[in-house]
Symmetry: C2
Subunit: 164 residues, 2 copies
Protein backbone atom coordinates (compact mmCIF):
# COMPACT_ATOMS: atom_id res chain seq x y z
CA UNK A 1 0.00 0.00 0.00
CA UNK A 2 2.72 2.46 1.15
CA UNK A 3 0.29 5.34 1.65
CA UNK A 4 2.21 8.40 2.76
CA UNK A 5 -0.50 11.02 2.25
CA UNK A 6 -4.26 11.29 2.60
CA UNK A 7 -4.44 11.30 -1.21
CA UNK A 8 -2.60 7.93 -1.32
CA UNK A 9 -5.11 6.59 1.20
CA UNK A 10 -8.02 7.98 -0.85
CA UNK A 11 -6.70 6.15 -3.95
CA UNK A 12 -6.19 2.96 -1.95
CA UNK A 13 -9.73 3.03 -0.59
CA UNK A 14 -11.18 3.90 -3.99
CA UNK A 15 -9.31 0.92 -5.50
CA UNK A 16 -10.67 -1.29 -2.72
CA UNK A 17 -14.31 -0.26 -3.24
CA UNK A 18 -13.86 -0.55 -7.03
CA UNK A 19 -12.89 -4.19 -6.51
CA UNK A 20 -15.76 -4.62 -4.06
CA UNK A 21 -18.34 -3.26 -6.52
CA UNK A 22 -16.95 -5.40 -9.35
CA UNK A 23 -17.24 -8.52 -7.18
CA UNK A 24 -20.78 -7.52 -6.29
CA UNK A 25 -21.87 -7.22 -9.93
CA UNK A 26 -21.14 -10.96 -10.22
CA UNK A 27 -22.91 -11.86 -6.99
CA UNK A 28 -26.19 -9.91 -7.24
CA UNK A 29 -27.64 -11.88 -10.21
CA UNK A 30 -27.17 -15.11 -8.19
CA UNK A 31 -28.98 -13.52 -5.25
CA UNK A 32 -31.83 -12.34 -7.52
CA UNK A 33 -32.17 -15.91 -8.84
CA UNK A 34 -32.09 -17.45 -5.35
CA UNK A 35 -34.81 -15.16 -3.94
CA UNK A 36 -38.39 -16.46 -3.82
CA UNK A 37 -40.15 -13.20 -3.02
CA UNK A 38 -40.59 -11.37 -6.35
CA UNK A 39 -40.08 -7.93 -4.79
CA UNK A 40 -36.80 -9.08 -3.25
CA UNK A 41 -35.65 -10.58 -6.52
CA UNK A 42 -36.50 -7.28 -8.25
CA UNK A 43 -34.66 -5.30 -5.55
CA UNK A 44 -31.48 -7.31 -6.25
CA UNK A 45 -31.89 -6.78 -10.00
CA UNK A 46 -32.37 -3.02 -9.52
CA UNK A 47 -29.34 -2.88 -7.24
CA UNK A 48 -27.31 -4.79 -9.83
CA UNK A 49 -28.03 -2.01 -12.33
CA UNK A 50 -27.16 0.62 -9.72
CA UNK A 51 -23.91 -1.22 -8.90
CA UNK A 52 -22.88 -1.12 -12.55
CA UNK A 53 -23.54 2.64 -12.54
CA UNK A 54 -21.51 2.97 -9.35
CA UNK A 55 -18.55 1.26 -11.03
CA UNK A 56 -18.88 3.73 -13.93
CA UNK A 57 -19.07 6.57 -11.39
CA UNK A 58 -15.71 5.49 -9.89
CA UNK A 59 -14.25 5.47 -13.42
CA UNK A 60 -15.52 9.05 -13.73
CA UNK A 61 -13.90 10.07 -10.41
CA UNK A 62 -10.62 8.52 -11.58
CA UNK A 63 -10.76 10.47 -14.83
CA UNK A 64 -11.81 13.81 -13.32
CA UNK A 65 -9.12 13.67 -10.61
CA UNK A 66 -6.45 12.07 -12.88
CA UNK A 67 -5.91 9.19 -10.47
CA UNK A 68 -4.53 5.73 -11.09
CA UNK A 69 -6.34 2.92 -9.32
CA UNK A 70 -4.38 -0.05 -7.99
CA UNK A 71 -5.21 -3.58 -9.02
CA UNK A 72 -6.32 -5.25 -5.81
CA UNK A 73 -8.96 -7.62 -4.51
CA UNK A 74 -11.10 -6.37 -1.63
CA UNK A 75 -10.69 -9.12 0.98
CA UNK A 76 -13.61 -7.96 3.09
CA UNK A 77 -16.05 -8.10 0.16
CA UNK A 78 -14.65 -11.52 -0.70
CA UNK A 79 -15.64 -12.68 2.81
CA UNK A 80 -19.04 -11.01 2.62
CA UNK A 81 -19.81 -12.65 -0.72
CA UNK A 82 -18.58 -16.00 0.62
CA UNK A 83 -21.20 -15.66 3.38
CA UNK A 84 -23.90 -14.91 0.80
CA UNK A 85 -22.87 -17.88 -1.38
CA UNK A 86 -22.94 -20.21 1.62
CA UNK A 87 -26.48 -19.10 2.36
CA UNK A 88 -27.63 -19.77 -1.22
CA UNK A 89 -26.03 -23.21 -1.28
CA UNK A 90 -27.18 -24.42 2.10
CA UNK A 91 -30.71 -23.12 2.64
CA UNK A 92 -33.69 -24.35 0.65
CA UNK A 93 -35.56 -21.81 -1.44
CA UNK A 94 -38.25 -20.02 0.53
CA UNK A 95 -38.78 -17.30 3.16
CA UNK A 96 -35.90 -18.40 5.45
CA UNK A 97 -33.48 -18.16 2.52
CA UNK A 98 -35.00 -14.78 1.62
CA UNK A 99 -34.42 -13.54 5.19
CA UNK A 100 -30.82 -14.82 5.02
CA UNK A 101 -30.24 -13.15 1.65
CA UNK A 102 -31.45 -9.82 3.03
CA UNK A 103 -29.17 -10.18 6.07
CA UNK A 104 -26.17 -10.89 3.80
CA UNK A 105 -27.04 -8.01 1.48
CA UNK A 106 -27.39 -5.56 4.36
CA UNK A 107 -23.89 -6.46 5.57
CA UNK A 108 -22.65 -5.66 2.07
CA UNK A 109 -24.54 -2.35 2.05
CA UNK A 110 -23.04 -1.40 5.41
CA UNK A 111 -19.53 -2.13 4.14
CA UNK A 112 -20.20 0.21 1.25
CA UNK A 113 -21.82 2.88 3.43
CA UNK A 114 -18.71 2.92 5.68
CA UNK A 115 -16.39 3.02 2.65
CA UNK A 116 -18.12 5.76 0.70
CA UNK A 117 -18.70 7.74 3.92
CA UNK A 118 -14.94 7.81 4.55
CA UNK A 119 -14.14 8.51 0.88
CA UNK A 120 -16.48 11.54 0.87
CA UNK A 121 -14.82 12.94 3.99
CA UNK A 122 -11.28 12.33 2.67
CA UNK A 123 -12.29 13.84 -0.68
CA UNK A 124 -13.58 16.97 1.09
CA UNK A 125 -10.24 17.44 2.90
CA UNK A 126 -8.40 16.95 -0.40
CA UNK A 127 -10.56 19.56 -2.16
CA UNK A 128 -11.85 17.00 -4.68
CA UNK A 129 -15.30 18.59 -4.85
CA UNK A 130 -16.57 16.97 -8.06
CA UNK A 131 -15.44 13.53 -6.84
CA UNK A 132 -17.25 14.11 -3.54
CA UNK A 133 -20.44 15.06 -5.39
CA UNK A 134 -20.32 11.80 -7.36
CA UNK A 135 -19.40 9.63 -4.36
CA UNK A 136 -22.21 11.19 -2.32
CA UNK A 137 -24.70 10.06 -5.01
CA UNK A 138 -23.48 6.50 -4.55
CA UNK A 139 -23.54 6.80 -0.76
CA UNK A 140 -27.18 7.95 -0.92
CA UNK A 141 -28.09 4.99 -3.18
CA UNK A 142 -26.47 2.50 -0.77
CA UNK A 143 -28.44 3.97 2.15
CA UNK A 144 -31.71 3.80 0.19
CA UNK A 145 -31.01 0.15 -0.73
CA UNK A 146 -30.33 -0.70 2.91
CA UNK A 147 -33.61 0.95 4.01
CA UNK A 148 -35.54 -0.75 1.21
CA UNK A 149 -34.22 -4.14 2.35
CA UNK A 150 -35.19 -3.38 5.97
CA UNK A 151 -38.74 -2.52 4.89
CA UNK A 152 -39.04 -5.61 2.71
CA UNK A 153 -37.74 -7.82 5.53
CA UNK A 154 -40.15 -6.37 8.06
CA UNK A 155 -43.23 -6.28 5.84
CA UNK A 156 -42.79 -9.63 4.08
CA UNK A 157 -39.89 -12.05 4.50
CA UNK A 158 -39.39 -12.02 8.30
CA UNK A 159 -43.05 -12.65 9.23
CA UNK A 160 -43.17 -15.41 6.57
CA UNK A 161 -39.88 -16.93 7.78
CA UNK A 162 -41.08 -16.87 11.40
CA UNK A 163 -44.09 -19.03 10.40
CA UNK A 164 -41.87 -21.79 8.90
CA UNK B 1 -25.46 -24.36 7.82
CA UNK B 2 -28.69 -26.19 6.89
CA UNK B 3 -30.97 -23.51 8.38
CA UNK B 4 -34.59 -24.59 7.99
CA UNK B 5 -36.20 -22.08 10.34
CA UNK B 6 -35.70 -18.47 11.41
CA UNK B 7 -34.40 -19.79 14.74
CA UNK B 8 -31.68 -21.81 12.90
CA UNK B 9 -30.73 -18.63 11.05
CA UNK B 10 -30.67 -16.65 14.31
CA UNK B 11 -28.27 -19.23 15.82
CA UNK B 12 -26.12 -19.19 12.68
CA UNK B 13 -25.84 -15.40 12.70
CA UNK B 14 -25.18 -15.33 16.44
CA UNK B 15 -22.37 -17.88 15.96
CA UNK B 16 -20.97 -15.73 13.16
CA UNK B 17 -20.91 -12.52 15.20
CA UNK B 18 -19.49 -14.44 18.20
CA UNK B 19 -16.55 -15.43 16.01
CA UNK B 20 -16.30 -11.86 14.68
CA UNK B 21 -16.17 -10.35 18.19
CA UNK B 22 -13.58 -12.92 19.32
CA UNK B 23 -11.39 -12.06 16.33
CA UNK B 24 -11.81 -8.39 17.13
CA UNK B 25 -10.62 -8.78 20.73
CA UNK B 26 -7.26 -9.88 19.29
CA UNK B 27 -7.11 -7.08 16.73
CA UNK B 28 -8.08 -4.00 18.80
CA UNK B 29 -4.97 -4.00 21.06
CA UNK B 30 -2.77 -3.92 17.92
CA UNK B 31 -4.80 -0.98 16.59
CA UNK B 32 -4.49 0.84 19.94
CA UNK B 33 -0.70 0.34 19.80
CA UNK B 34 -0.46 1.50 16.19
CA UNK B 35 -2.42 4.74 16.77
CA UNK B 36 -0.46 7.95 17.33
CA UNK B 37 -3.33 10.17 18.49
CA UNK B 38 -3.79 9.41 22.23
CA UNK B 39 -7.58 9.84 22.06
CA UNK B 40 -7.77 7.34 19.21
CA UNK B 41 -5.57 4.88 21.05
CA UNK B 42 -7.83 5.26 24.11
CA UNK B 43 -10.96 4.80 21.94
CA UNK B 44 -9.60 1.45 20.71
CA UNK B 45 -8.76 0.39 24.28
CA UNK B 46 -12.25 1.34 25.49
CA UNK B 47 -13.82 -0.52 22.58
CA UNK B 48 -11.65 -3.56 23.39
CA UNK B 49 -13.23 -3.63 26.87
CA UNK B 50 -16.69 -3.21 25.36
CA UNK B 51 -16.01 -6.00 22.87
CA UNK B 52 -15.12 -8.37 25.71
CA UNK B 53 -18.42 -7.44 27.38
CA UNK B 54 -20.23 -8.02 24.10
CA UNK B 55 -18.77 -11.54 23.90
CA UNK B 56 -20.02 -12.16 27.47
CA UNK B 57 -23.42 -10.77 26.47
CA UNK B 58 -23.67 -13.32 23.64
CA UNK B 59 -22.81 -16.06 26.18
CA UNK B 60 -25.71 -14.72 28.27
CA UNK B 61 -28.10 -14.81 25.28
CA UNK B 62 -27.04 -18.42 24.59
CA UNK B 63 -27.74 -19.40 28.19
CA UNK B 64 -31.06 -17.56 28.55
CA UNK B 65 -32.42 -18.97 25.27
CA UNK B 66 -30.82 -22.45 25.72
CA UNK B 67 -29.10 -22.23 22.34
CA UNK B 68 -26.02 -24.05 21.10
CA UNK B 69 -23.62 -21.94 19.05
CA UNK B 70 -21.78 -23.46 16.10
CA UNK B 71 -17.99 -23.38 15.87
CA UNK B 72 -17.30 -21.27 12.82
CA UNK B 73 -14.97 -18.53 11.64
CA UNK B 74 -16.57 -15.34 10.37
CA UNK B 75 -15.01 -14.93 6.90
CA UNK B 76 -16.11 -11.32 6.53
CA UNK B 77 -14.46 -10.24 9.80
CA UNK B 78 -11.36 -12.15 8.73
CA UNK B 79 -11.24 -9.98 5.58
CA UNK B 80 -11.95 -6.79 7.53
CA UNK B 81 -9.15 -7.53 10.01
CA UNK B 82 -6.82 -8.41 7.14
CA UNK B 83 -7.45 -4.90 5.77
CA UNK B 84 -6.67 -3.36 9.18
CA UNK B 85 -3.46 -5.42 9.54
CA UNK B 86 -2.31 -4.39 6.07
CA UNK B 87 -2.76 -0.75 7.05
CA UNK B 88 -0.70 -1.15 10.24
CA UNK B 89 2.10 -2.94 8.40
CA UNK B 90 2.34 -0.67 5.41
CA UNK B 91 1.77 2.88 6.62
CA UNK B 92 4.22 4.74 8.83
CA UNK B 93 3.02 5.84 12.24
CA UNK B 94 1.33 9.24 12.14
CA UNK B 95 -1.91 10.99 11.14
CA UNK B 96 -2.31 9.15 7.79
CA UNK B 97 -2.12 5.81 9.59
CA UNK B 98 -4.57 7.12 12.20
CA UNK B 99 -7.02 8.08 9.43
CA UNK B 100 -6.60 4.62 7.87
CA UNK B 101 -7.13 2.90 11.23
CA UNK B 102 -10.37 4.84 11.76
CA UNK B 103 -11.57 3.91 8.24
CA UNK B 104 -10.84 0.22 8.92
CA UNK B 105 -12.51 0.36 12.34
CA UNK B 106 -15.64 2.01 10.93
CA UNK B 107 -16.00 -0.80 8.39
CA UNK B 108 -15.85 -3.25 11.30
CA UNK B 109 -18.45 -1.24 13.24
CA UNK B 110 -20.77 -1.21 10.22
CA UNK B 111 -20.46 -5.00 9.87
CA UNK B 112 -21.51 -5.32 13.49
CA UNK B 113 -24.32 -2.76 13.19
CA UNK B 114 -25.80 -4.72 10.26
CA UNK B 115 -25.41 -8.02 12.12
CA UNK B 116 -26.88 -6.97 15.44
CA UNK B 117 -29.63 -5.02 13.66
CA UNK B 118 -30.75 -8.21 11.90
CA UNK B 119 -30.37 -10.32 15.06
CA UNK B 120 -32.60 -7.91 17.02
CA UNK B 121 -35.30 -8.10 14.34
CA UNK B 122 -35.09 -11.92 14.07
CA UNK B 123 -35.16 -12.17 17.88
CA UNK B 124 -38.32 -10.04 18.01
CA UNK B 125 -40.08 -12.35 15.53
CA UNK B 126 -38.96 -15.38 17.56
CA UNK B 127 -40.29 -13.87 20.81
CA UNK B 128 -36.80 -13.87 22.39
CA UNK B 129 -37.46 -10.65 24.31
CA UNK B 130 -34.63 -10.89 26.84
CA UNK B 131 -32.13 -11.72 24.08
CA UNK B 132 -33.34 -8.73 22.06
CA UNK B 133 -32.90 -6.44 25.09
CA UNK B 134 -29.27 -7.59 25.46
CA UNK B 135 -28.47 -7.45 21.74
CA UNK B 136 -29.94 -3.94 21.52
CA UNK B 137 -27.46 -2.81 24.21
CA UNK B 138 -24.61 -4.05 22.02
CA UNK B 139 -26.14 -2.48 18.90
CA UNK B 140 -26.31 0.88 20.69
CA UNK B 141 -22.65 0.58 21.77
CA UNK B 142 -21.52 -0.15 18.20
CA UNK B 143 -23.41 2.89 16.91
CA UNK B 144 -21.86 5.12 19.60
CA UNK B 145 -18.36 3.80 18.74
CA UNK B 146 -18.95 4.54 15.04
CA UNK B 147 -20.09 8.10 15.84
CA UNK B 148 -17.17 8.63 18.23
CA UNK B 149 -14.74 7.59 15.47
CA UNK B 150 -16.41 9.96 12.99
CA UNK B 151 -16.05 12.86 15.42
CA UNK B 152 -12.42 12.02 16.18
CA UNK B 153 -11.61 11.74 12.47
CA UNK B 154 -13.24 15.06 11.67
CA UNK B 155 -11.90 17.03 14.62
CA UNK B 156 -8.35 15.65 14.66
CA UNK B 157 -6.92 12.96 12.40
CA UNK B 158 -8.32 13.99 8.99
CA UNK B 159 -7.22 17.65 9.16
CA UNK B 160 -3.79 16.48 10.41
CA UNK B 161 -3.52 13.82 7.68
CA UNK B 162 -4.51 16.37 5.00
CA UNK B 163 -1.54 18.53 6.02
CA UNK B 164 0.99 15.68 5.47
Amino acid sequence: MAAKTLQDLFVHMLSDIYSAEKQLTKSLPKMAKAATNPELSQAFKTHWEETNNQVARIDEVVEICSLKLKRMKCAAMEGLIEEGDEVVQEIEKGPVLDAALIAAAQKVEHYEIASYGTLCVFGKHLGLDEAVRLLKETLAEEKVTDEKLTMLAESETNPEAARQ
